[in-house]
């Protein structure tokens, strides 16, 4: 199974793609790890964003996209950036999009984070990895 984890933060998406299972997986398309929309995107900006994301899904045979559940209350809630990105992904993704809540990731880590062998050291990419890991069987 090939899963792409997309961590949405402001107007940026950090992307990690995993192939395999929770017990044995590897990183794919490691250089395709960042895609952003400008603060006030035009139709052309969105078009290029969609083309790049679709190309990534098509050329890597992605089965599923997992994105972080947007905060609807508390600090950081209501930001337009993640709202736009989430909408664009939901409207245009040709593969199923699933949401994962940060609490689900914390629960997985409590049960044992030993399987997360390929987790990148950078914070945001690490979060994208956690999301992709949740999508694996």
């Amino acid at each position: 199974m090939i899963v792409t984890g997309v961590f949405l933060k402001a107007n940026q998406s950090r992307i990690i793609t995993l192939s395999g299972s929770r017990t044995s997986h590897e990183l794919l398309a490691e250089k395709f790890n960042k895609l952003a929309l400008p603060k006030n995107p035009t139709q052309g900006d969105v078009e290029v964003f969609v083309q790049a994301f679709k190309a990534h899904c098509m050329s890597n045979g992605i089965d599923k996209v997992v994105i972080n559940r947007r905060a609807t209350n508390g600090q950081g809630a209501g930001g337009a950036g993640t709202f736009l990105l989430e909408g664009v992904l939901l409207a245009t993704s040709q593969v199923p999009v699933e949401f994962v809540h940060p609490a689900t990731i914390r629960a997985t880590d409590r049960r044992g984070s030993g399987a997360k062998t390929k987790r990148p050291s950078t914070v945001d990419l690490g979060k994208a990895y956690d999301l992709a890991f949740e999508g694996l069987h």
Binding site: F32, D45, E47, Q51, A52, A55, H56, S59
Partner: protein, 372 residues
């Protein structure tokens, strides 16, 4: 070559046979510029739209791969196929939508493209290519060049799949193509020549270079150095094989040494980050983008804040930069900066800029207007 006005009696036998099989098709133009066949352009009376009918030759009883590939692909930037039929053992035809602007080569000759249109066409090309590179399809085009890309309503469509091949699912490699030497990537030369997905990226990079104003002459002798030209003239000029072999060897050396493209021919107003992305796309195998999506992601990144330049008959024009338009008006070799509000009509000379050579005037404008 210009399409000829149609006289049915003058058409080749195969084209006449194709017309006999398609009474719904009203042929209007005939074009024989293709390498292995002809194209009839006309009107489909039932579909009520302009269509193209491509008659092409292949080896006896060979599988007609081109329409079969097109039929497997469903992407807005890949040519669709309406119908395909066999005429003879070595000749078939298929029907596709016709492109209103013809191929990209003609489009580039006919119009000045704005930076945003060039960027958009390049992204569309890459988007279409990603459908070919889909692992379930697994095809490399191998012959991407402006003549094989169509433009319809400012949308780019990939066509001519005569050279396309399946990649080996284990190695990701396909045999190298020997078509169109100027567009051949470095890895397609030598004894262990091959083609892979990043080879298509290389060819797309060259097309990007041309879209943004880079020059690539079809006159192959122009790529020869003075010394090579002297050696070339020493060869028997009546021996076509020897002369073409020599030219091919010279161009191969240029490609292998990364000296084919003249980056100084790209206008100075094309932004340096964009040039860097294009340069990376045409580096040697292993140094360039490994996949279409990487190339697209970089193009998406540099699009943010890209100034909207367009070459005009009087000089380059920058549109809607901080609500102002700028025109670098050319008078002989001297360029003068003219400025206006984006919403107003007439340009006025901006005397805060000193007239001079394009590069000098552009440098002043870049500093004053905060261009990238």
């Amino acid at each position: 070559m210009r399409p000829k006005t149609l006289i049915i009696e003058d058409l080749p036998e195969e084209a006449k046979k194709a017309l006999d099989q398609f009474p719904e098709f009203e042929a209007l133009e005939f074009n024989e510029s293709g390498a292995n066949g002809y194209v009839l352009l006309g009107h489909h009376r039932v579909l009520k739209r302009r269509v193209a009918l491509k008659v092409y030759f292949h080896e006896d009883n060979a599988i007609d791969q081109e329409p079969a590939i097109l039929a497997r692909l469903s992407h807005e930037n890949v040519l669709k196929v309406y119908d395909a039929r066999k005429l003879e053992n070595d000749c078939s035809f298929y029907m596709t939508p016709a492109a209103d602007e013809g191929d990209l080569a003609k489009f580039l000759d006919k119009y000045y493209l704005s930076t945003s249109l060039s960027h958009s066409l390049l992204c569309q090309l890459l988007s279409g290519l990603s459908a070919l590179h889909d692992p379930t399809i697994g095809i490399v085009h191998r012959d991407l060049k402006p003549e094989n890309l169509l433009v319809h309503d400012d949308k780019l469509v990939i066509a001519d799949f005569g050279s396309a091949r399946m990649v080996d699912s284990a190695t990701g490699l396909a045999p190298a193509s020997k078509h169109s030497i100027l567009f051949r990537p470095p890895e397609s030369f030598g004894h262990e020549a091959f083609f892979d997905r990043s080879s298509d990226v290389y060819q797309a990079g060259i097309i990007g270079y041309m879209l943004f104003g880079g020059r690539l002459s079809n006159d192959l002798l122009k790529y020869l150095t003075k010394r090579e030209l002297r050696e070339f003239r020493a060869i028997n000029q009546n021996d076509d094989f020897a002369t073409s072999q020599y030219i091919d060897r010279c161009i191969e050396r240029r490609i292998l040494n990364q000296r084919l493209l003249d980056w100084s021919s790209i206008p100075c107003f094309v932004s340096p980050p964009l040039k860097r992305v294009l340069r990376k796309a045409v580096r040697s195998h292993g140094d360039r983008y490994a996949s279409i999506s990487e190339f697209l992601a970089e193009l998406a990144r540099v699009r943010n804040g890209l100034p909207e330049w367009i070459q005009t008959s009087v000089g380059p024009k920058l549109e809607n930069w901080n609500r102002n338009d700028y025109l670098l008006e050319e008078t002989g070799d001297i360029f003068t900066v003219k400025k206006k509000r984006h919403t107003s009509k007439n340009f006025r000379v901006d005397k805060s800029f000193t007239p001079g050579a394009l590069e000098d005037v552009f440098k002043q404008l870049r500093t004053a207007a905060g261009l990238p």
